[in-house]
Structure formats: structure tokens, C-alpha cells
Amino acid sequence: MQDIADLYQAVILDHNRRPRNFGEMENPDRVAVGDNPVCGDHYTVFLQMDGDRIREITFHGAGCAISKASASVMTSMLKGKTLAEIKALYSDFHHLVTSGEIDEGNLSDLSAFAGVHQFPARIKCATLSWHAALNAAERPGEEPEPVTTE
């Protein structure tokens, strides 16, 4: 039986109420915007880099509980990671939210998003800030084009 609590796990509700790493960064090396024009969710991700390793990451913006909690958990996990590590983690996360299968041990709090796959309309909410973060991390230039989901 699919229930609403499968989607809104305690971890998600907590990160939605008290988002971590929330706020604009004073001197970011890179900034990227993620927009979902359909529902109005919009986030900006700020990065400071050591080479291709993330030193500091924050996010700012507004959206639903899934998108906000996802951005919050993501920022908690990406600090100190290299671009290659981020891509690998995103690939596991994407698999998780589209299939509900948890097959990796390193997902940690991200596994709270397993229920998202039962709500196909919400997958984009879960991946929005990831698209922005990858976009920022991959491109050395300032302010790349906003990424949009849908």
C-alpha cells in the first residue's frame, strides 16, 4: 500500500522545516540556478571550489518540501566531494528516485527519497537542485544558463 508517509519521510520533513546550508554565499566561485517553471520552484546553488573539489556549498530559493529537502540533504553530502564523486552519487540518487531501489551503501540520508518513485510527478522536484549543482560544478564560468526541469 503506497502511503503519503512513504513520500514524506521524517528526514524529508525535518530538512524541509530546517534546511541546512540555506542562504546566499558571499564570495562564491560558481553559481547556478535551477528552475521548474511549471510549479515555480527555483533554487540557486553557490559553490566554492578547491580545484574540482567542493569546499563550501549553500543554496537559496523556494519550492516544495521535496525539492527543498533534496537540496538541503544534497548540500550536506557534497561538501568535500570531487566532480567525479558528485556525478557517481547523482547517478545512484537518480536510480533511487526513479526505481525506489537502494543498492548502494553510500546514499545515507538520500535514501529517504526512495518513496519519490511512486510519485512520478515529483521526481523533477527531487532532482532540481542536483541539476543546478552539477551545472555549477562542471562549468568553470560564472552564472551558466539556468537549468530547467520541464
Binding site: 503519503i4 513520500l7 514524506y8 515555480g40 520552484d41 523556494a62 516544495c64 510519485f119 515529483r122
Partner: protein, 407 residues
């Protein structure tokens, strides 16, 4: 209502189901309404017995299809009080009807510096076509402001705005995002006094309220079948006959021509010159059945039922804490739109869905209005003939549950 509530509900097969283990409560009627058995039967009956193309064959089926299609046009004219069926152009819906005017009328009459007056509460389909027309013709758009959360038009500004070189005034009858009922007849009169042509977006009103174009005094009026128990993909533009006759065609193709040479053509008279290509025949037939169905219940009865539910929902929602209700304090259509500061609209809708409750969350195709109100989105419940106060009580319970859950 002559029919009882129970008999009305039973006429809508789709309502008899459970969603995620709960009785379906369908509160997304401003997006599209459900279809009664008689409409479903009219559409399938046409395909089973009469399917053919119109205005082409001289065989029996084509004759029957043509008769049925043209009978639907006459029915639509009577339904909205038009003087003649020649004043009814079938379109895909409200959007296409507005685009027709924004294209044919604006191309013919607008010059650089002319103005089109709209309001801040318009649906994108009564905004974007005019933006395109303004770009093509060099005309400018101006807007009647809305007052704020109560969502009324600032009518004290209207005469001055109209006087500023406005050539056409297009506005909604009932706001899909707020539930505001605009005083259409008064707006049309004030526009007419200054020689301004009017277009009424009646998408949310034709199936919900008694409506008569001669009483309203509009020049054009647009509506969609699917928001009034009819099929999707069919709707109509009403246009005053002399205005339609003076306009160039909208699309070119088969059906709309009298005579075609390699380099030029002559077109048919109104309304057929605006209907290029094979039309949505089954849609028109389904719309005919929908209009019959609505008149059997009575649009006066539907109007008071919808407004009673709108008022009831507003009153129940006002009693909840931490909820910002939009829309007029009185005289509300069957639409209740609100914002929960602590819960995003999409979380409300996902949660409600798992309780069998179909709501709408988002900007409702009114992004400029949302921006004006300082919002990204709202949650909207919109009602129709088959909805009940008991369903609204259940809906309010679910909203309270949601507030507690996300707390």
C-alpha cells in the same frame, strides 16, 4: 434543481470510483469538468451510427453528420442568446477563439500606438495572444489593476484607461484563479460608450451561469466545451455578425473556401470562412448534448449551487489558522483558492491526492496575477453540479491534516 443531487451524481460514471482507497472527490472543475452519460453516449452514438465528413459528401451519412454538426451550432447560438447561428464559429476551445480575434481582428484594425486593454487577472490564454498581436501590429497592452487578495478589478480606473486610445478590451467573466465574478454587462457598456470593442473570456462562466450575449452587450465571447460537461477540443467564438463578416479568415484550407485558383481563392461566408479543415464533429455533437444536459438542470440552479458551495468553502477555510484565502469577500463563484504559508501547494496536492481528493496547485496559468499577489502558487478547489457540502467538509478535514503533518 429539478433533478436531485443523487440522480445528478449517478449520471457521471467517473465519479463512482475510489482513488487510493478513498471515495473520489473531484474538485478540479475549473480545469475541466466531468462528463455525464448523455454526452458520452452522444459521442459514441455518432461514431457508431453517423460518422462521416461534413459539408462534402452527398451520401446519407455525410448528410446526417452535417446536419448534426450544424444543429450543434444552432444550439450553441440559442444557449448563449446569439441572434443567429452565423455568429458561432467552432474552435478548439477558448484559447483558439481568442487567438482568432487576436489574429484576424488585430491584423485588420490595429495600428502602432493603438492600445489593447486587459486585466491583471487574465488566464495566459487571454494574455499571450494579445502579446503576439501587439508585437505584430505595434499596439501596446494596458491593464486594469486588481485590488489585492480580494481579487476585484479597480473599476474606478476603467474609464480613464479606456479613454487612452484603447481599441479593444478583453477580460474574463469569472476568474479561474480567484473566483471573482466580474460585472460583464457594466464593463461592456462602459467600453461601448467609448467605442471600444469587447471580448469576454467566458471559459469559467458559460457552463456555470445563465448567460446571454445580447444582455451582456459584448462584441466577442469565447468558451470551451470541456469546462461545461462537453468534450475536449471543441469550443466556440461568438462574434457579432457584422464584425465577423468584416474580418479576414484565420486559417486557410478546405471547408472554408468557395472557389480556389492557383493564385487566389474566394471564401465562404460566416461562420464557415473561419473553420478551415475537417472540424471536430463528434466534439460539436457532444457539446450539443452537454448544453441540453445543463439546461435540463437549469443554469440558474447551477449558478446558485456553485456559489453556495464557493461561499461555504470560503467560510470553512476562513476559520482555519495560517491560511490566506484569495478571492472576493462576497459573490464568489464556485472556486476557492488559497495559500498555506508553511506548506507548498504541490505538497498539499500530492497529500490530498492520496486521500482521494483531486485539487489543483500552481499558478493556474495566471503568472502575472500570482506575481502581483506576491505568490508563486496557490491551492485551488473548484466545484460543480455534482459536488456537495459533505465533500467540502471532508476537504477541510484533509487540509487540517496536512497542516498538522507539515506543521
Amino acid at each position: 434543481m429539478k433533478k436531485t443531487m443523487t440522480s445528478i451524481r449517478e449520471e457521471f460514471p467517473v465519479l463512482d470510483q475510489q482513488v487510493y482507497g478513498h471515495d473520489l472527490i473531484y474538485f478540479d472543475n475549473a480545469a475541466t469538468t466531468q462528463k455525464p452519460r448523455s454526452v458520452i453516449d452522444a459521442v459514441s452514438g455518432y461514431y457508431e451510427k453517423d460518422n462521416s465528413n461534413v459539408h462534402r459528401g452527398i451520401h446519407a451519412l455525410s448528410h446526417r453528420a452535417t446536419e448534426a454538426y450544424e444543429a450543434a451550432r444552432a444550439r450553441a447560438a440559442a444557449f448563449i442568446g446569439a441572434g443567429s447561428e452565423k455568429e458561432i464559429v467552432f474552435t478548439r476551445g477558448t484559447t483558439e477563439a481568442i487567438n482568432l480575434v487576436a489574429s484576424s481582428w488585430c491584423n485588420r484594425y490595429l495600428k502602432p500606438g493603438d492600445r489593447i486593454l486587459l486585466t491583471e487577472m487574465e488566464h495566459h490564454s487571454n494574455l499571450v495572444p494579445w502579446q503576439l498581436a501587439a508585437e505584430r501590429t505595434g499596439a501596446e497592452l494596458v491593464f486594469v489593476p486588481v485590488t489585492g487578495d480580494e481579487g476585484l478589478l479597480q473599476l474606478d480606473r476603467l474609464d480613464a484607461l479606456l479613454a487612452g486610445n484603447v481599441k479593444l478590451f478583453a477580460f474574463t467573466h469569472i476568474s479561474n484563479a480567484l473566483g471573482t465574478i466580474n460585472p460583464v454587462a457594466e464593463l461592456c457598456r462602459r467600453a461601448r460608450d467609448q467605442g471600444v470593442v469587447t471580448l469576454v473570456d467566458a471559459a469559467q462562466s458559460v457552463g456555470h451561469a445563465p448567460l446571454d450575449v445580447s444582455g451582456i452587450g459584448c462584441d466577442f465571447l469565447a468558451f470551451s466545451g470541456h469546462k461545461m460537461c462537453g468534450p475536449t477540443g471543441i469550443g466556440a467564438l461568438y462574434g457579432r455578425r457584422d464584425l465577423l463578416e468584416a474580418l479576414p479568415p484565420y486559417h486557410g484550407g478546405g471547408e472554408m473556401i468557395r472557389k480556389v485558383d492557383l493564385h487566389r481563392s474566394e471564401w465562404k461566408g460566416v461562420p464557415h470562412k473561419f473553420e478551415a479543415g475537417t472540424p471536430h464533429i463528434s466534439g460539436a455533437i457532444g457539446l450539443h448534448a452537454a448544453m441540453d444536459y445543463l439546461d435540463e438542470i437549469g443554469r440558474k440552479a447551477i449558478y446558485s449551487h456553485d456559489r453556495e458551495l464557493g461561499e461555504y468553502a470560503a467560510e470553512r477555510l476562513r476559520s482555519l489558522r495560517n491560511l490566506r484565502l484569495l478571492g472576493p469577500p462576497a459573490e464568489r463563484a464556485g472556486i476557492a483558492s488559497f495559500h498555506l504559508p508553511n506548506v507548498h501547494a504541490h505538497d498539499v496536492v500530492s497529500f490530498a491526492d492520496r486521500r482521494g481528493l483531486a485539487l489543483r496547485g500552481g499558478h493556474h496559468c495566471t503568472q502575472p496575477l500570482m506575481k502581483r499577489l506576491g505568490l508563486e502558487s496557490t491551492v485551488r478547489a473548484s466545484f460543480y453540479i455534482y459536488n456537495t457540502k459533505e465533500e467540502i467538509d471532508r476537504f477541510v478535514e484533509v487540509i487540517e491534516e496536512i497542516q498538522a503533518f507539515f506543521g
